[in-house]
């Protein structure tokens, strides 16, 4: 007996929805195996990783706090991905958003004006869009590959931030640590729930999900993006401008990532540091795909991904496991998702050895 993958006559809609669920379940099962192999009690490890982090209000608000940038960036990326515009550099666009917003915050240091925060918001979006405009320009002008360009710009952005906090923007009273001054109150997102770190950024992310839903599923521009992604020739035939679709996909992704970067420095961090994101820009790619490029799916996927971040931290503290555990789980989730996605277009069929035998010789004589 052996198994055979057989092409389905048409892609299974049900598997489209089930595949992320299956991937999440397989990730958890693999986690069990992994914890056992590391000599930990798998049940206890499971509890520490997936349940303990959200067992109280503080945990839940941390979950939402970390999910906010993920869903924000994920929705932005989905706009591009639907049009086959592969922006892999959201992490760099996030950093640029943080730099632009941080620059505004530092410039208005000490100001009580209520306009500082909105200005940072706009600056963050502009920063992210500028960084995304580079691969968009190169692709529409010179037909470069936006995957490579956007990815490489991540490292440029990180070095730019590093230089800024080491040199011009370093806090003179910061004991020579590479960090900027702490932002004043007016440059920080208001806290939503006293005693927690959950801030207005969560509302911004939810708003992005709602806007993303309207844009992708109800608007004519979103329709054009989908056509460009599904059938480029049909888009050209209908007169949709392919270059414009690239620009739109890249800029929306860049703006969302930039706003997410602004939300980090105006939220839990409160200043500029050499590193402002634990890889949200990359994790959001996984979020976008686990969420099937659909805003509601992305909302759910961002919660799962956020839990992996929190679980990873808890596993470091409670189980004495290395910090790489977070990346490991993210990787497993994406791996299982891609594997499960095969089932959308194929089904598994069990082949009995007898039926698989070659044709009898008599028939070919």
């Amino acid at each position: 007996m052996r198994f055979k993958l057989e092409a389905r006559p048409e892609p299974s809609r049900r598997m489209g929805y089930l595949s992320p669920v299956l991937a999440a379940a397989l990730t958890i099962v693999a986690g069990f195996v992994l914890f056992s192999a590391l000599g930990r009690n798998p049940w206890q490890a499971f509890y520490t990783f997936f349940v303990y982090p959200i067992h109280d209000l503080n945990g839940v608000t941390e979950l939402l706090l970390k999910a906010s940038p993920l869903m924000l960036i994920g929705v932005g990326l989905a706009c591009g991905y639907r049009a086959n515009v592969w922006n892999i550099g959201a992490e760099g666009q996030l950093v640029l958003g943080a730099i632009f917003a941080g620059g505004v915050a530092l410039h208005f240091q000490g100001s009580e004006s209520a306009l500082v925060l909105p200005a940072m918001f706009v600056a963050g979006a502009v920063g992210g869009m500028l960084w995304a405009a580079i691969p968009a320009l190169l692709r529409t002008r010179f037909n470069t590959n936006e995957i490579l360009v956007s990815l490489m710009l991540v490292y440029v952005a990180n070095l730019l931030l590093s230089w800024l906090v080491h040199e011009p923007w370093r806090d003179p009273e910061g004991f020579n640590f590479p960090q900027s001054k702490q932002f004043t109150e007016s440059a920080l997102y208001p806290i939503l729930l006293a005693g927690t770190r959950l801030n207005l950024g969560f509302v911004v992310a939810l708003a992005a999900v709602a806007l993303g839903y309207v844009f992708l599923n109800r608007s004519f521009l979103g329709f054009q993006l989908r056509v460009a992604g599904l059938a480029p020739d049909a888009a050209r035939y209908a007169g949709f401008n392919a270059g414009r679709m690239v620009w739109l996909g890249m800029l929306v992704g860049g703006a969302c990532a930039g706003i997410a970067g602004m939300g980090e420095v105006a939220g839990p961090i409160g200043q500029l540091l050499p590193v402002v994101s634990p890889g949200y820009g990359f994790a959001a790619i996984i979020v976008a795909f686990v969420g099937r490029l659909h805003p509601v799916g992305i909302l759910l996927a961002s919660l799962l991904m956020s839990l992996l971040y929190l679980g990873g931290e808890a596993a470091q503290m409670g189980l004495n496991l290395p910090s790489a555990i977070t990346g490991l789980f993210q990787g497993m989730l994406l791996f299982f998702l891609l594997a499960s996605d095969v089932l959308i277009n194929y089904r598994v069929r069990v082949v009995r050895p007898a039926a698989a035998a070659p044709a009898p010789a008599a028939t070919t004589a």
Partner: protein
């Protein structure tokens, strides 16, 4: 062949049901060695399913296949090829980024040296009159040329049964005659040919036996030579065939003008356009004939705006110079276009019919403040489905779930219901069954009678002679003068297809596919 020959292939009570439809019901068919046997039926009659069963692509639910007298179960196409069965599919399976010879090599066992294979391809293509350059990349080939590659690929392995699924849909009459010579040659060598088609005149000219299918059942056997097209059509569609009503043209103002339209070929193997002049008036249908790959694609893309030309003055649409305008702005002037490729260009395969209606008809008030008014789009799609008798699961059915003919009716409907001032149609009835083809042609004529200017580019001469008011020929990127239909005939147009019309510049090269024309005309 002795009269007592064992049948090459015999099907006994073949039945195949799909979840939604019974494709084949109790079908029996026998073909002797050297016989050219027609399998006749409309789209969806079950012809393709039956052939796929013989070729091992589909397994029957019941019934028996006998190959040279012995029962066989054909497991897969490789097994079928081992038995000596070759098939030329209606839809091509070629890799666009590979060359012709690389594509052919992929279908052969082992790892044949490409240089030797190229020579074999050239040999076979010359022997059977199917000219194609083995070094060309497939993406630069026209549909007709791609089909030649598929036919050559089959002939390379010397099959004893050759299944041809609608092989002539993109060939000129002369090329069809040449292909028929090829097929008769093959049959004379003892090869059995199963010839699937809905073109009755072709079947009459070629086949010695026919099995007629309707809705998955055999509705008759006949000797096509003893039948009339009308009698076979009745067997095939169950009623008499409607003929389009034409009437005299009443040409009005010039709506579409091409003036000295020149465009360099986009790729080294492509065809450029050279000094093309043409005027299409309101209330007339101008046809453009030509062997595929002579610049039709380039001409259509230039008119539609999918590629822009250097001078804005070389194309005028309703009095506006549009050479530099993008497709969307041309459509705003009242331009509509039905392209040759339905899936992927004329329609998005994975989108619903409603979404596909939105694709080009969105200017009919379907978008308000940037948001799509889905109710209106659905209503339009439904109207299109009703008016054009599109067999589908409704506005929510995915475009790719429709048969080719039904999708074509939908796309035609979508474009015509926008009441265009200028309609350009490529291959209006390619692969469409006779009933639907007559319907589509009638709709084109109706639109002309309402005063639209219509340009039809087709590789089917019969069709052009049926609907055009004036006819021009494209060869090697040049366009002949457009002649009123009453002043010309099939033979003259056939000669023009080789680029030899009065006043044509002398050329050293012959256009692609022209080589067989003079010979075929002598035949």
């Amino acid at each position: 062949m002795s009269g007592a020959a064992v049948p090459r292939i015999e099907l006994r009570r073949i039945t195949k049901a799909y979840p939604s439809v019974v494709a084949n019901q109790d079908i029996s068919l026998t073909a002797l060695p050297g016989e050219i046997h027609a399998v006749l039926g409309e789209n969806g009659a079950g012809k393709s399913t039956l052939m796929k069963i013989i070729y091992g692509v589909v397994k029957p639910d019941a019934g028996e296949v006998l190959w040279e007298g012995r029962p066989v179960v054909v497991h897969n196409p490789a097994h079928a090829r081992d038995l000596g069965i070759g098939m030329v599919f209606q839809h091509f399976s070629l890799f666009e980024t590979l060359t012709v010879v690389e594509n052919v090599a992929l279908g052969l066992a082992g790892n044949p040296p490409l240089a030797a294979l190229s020579r074999r391809i050239t040999e076979v293509s010359e022997k059977y009159g199917l000219p194609v350059d083995p070094r060309r990349l497939v993406h630069s080939l026209s549909v007709g040329e791609r089909q030649r590659v598929e036919i050559i690929r089959c002939l390379l392995v010397n099959p004893r049964l050759l299944i041809m699924d609608e092989p002539t849909s993109v060939l000129t009459p002369q090329a069809v005659r040449k292909l028929f010579e090829t097929l008769r040659l093959l049959a004379g060598e003892g090869c059995t040919i199963l010839y699937i088609s809905h073109k009755l005149d072709e079947i009459q000219a070629l086949c010695t036996n026919a099995t007629v299918l309707r809705s998955g059942r055999v509705t008759g056997h006949c000797d096509p030579r003893a039948e009339t097209p009308e009698s076979m059509a009745r067997m095939m569609i169950g009623k008499d065939l409607p003929h389009p009503q034409h009437g005299l043209p009443t040409p009005g103002v010039a709506r579409l003008t091409l003036a000295a339209l020149t465009k360099k070929a986009a790729d080294p193997f492509g065809v450029g356009l050279e000094d093309v002049h043409l005027t299409v008036h309101a209330g007339e249908i101008v046809g453009i004939a030509g062997v595929s790959g002579n610049g039709q694609q380039e001409l259509l893309a230039a008119i539609s705006g999918e590629t822009l030309v250097r001078s804005k003055l070389s194309i005028t649409l309703c009095g506006v110079a549009v050479g530099r305008m993008r497709p969307g702005r041309r459509r705003r002037l009242g331009f509509c276009f039905v392209p040759e490729e339905r899936l992927g260009r004329g329609a998005v395969p994975r989108m619903s019919l409603a979404d596909n209606a939105l694709l080009t008809a969105h200017r009919r008030g379907f978008v308000k403040r940037g948001l799509v008014r889905f109710a209106r789009v659905r209503a339009f799609a439904q109207a299109c489905i009703d008016a054009y008798n599109v067999k589908s699961g409704g506005p929510d059915a995915e475009a790719k779930s429709l048969s080719g003919g039904n999708l074509q009716k939908f796309i035609m409907g979508r474009e015509i219901l926008q009441q265009p001032k200028v309609l350009v149609v490529a291959q209006p009835t390619w692969g469409v069954d006779v009933g639907a083809a007559a319907f589509i042609r009638q709709k084109i004529i109706d639109l002309r009678n309402e005063g639209a200017a219509i340009l039809v580019v087709s590789e089917e001469l019969d069709e052009l002679f049926e609907i055009s008011d004036r006819l021009a020929v494209i060869a090697k990127g040049r366009l002949s003068p457009a002649k009123p239909l009453r002043d010309t005939n099939v033979e003259e147009i056939g000669v023009w297809m080789s680029g030899m019309w009065p006043g044509a510049k002398a050329t050293v090269d012959t256009p692609p596919g022209a080589a067989e024309v003079p010979r075929a005309l002598q035949a």
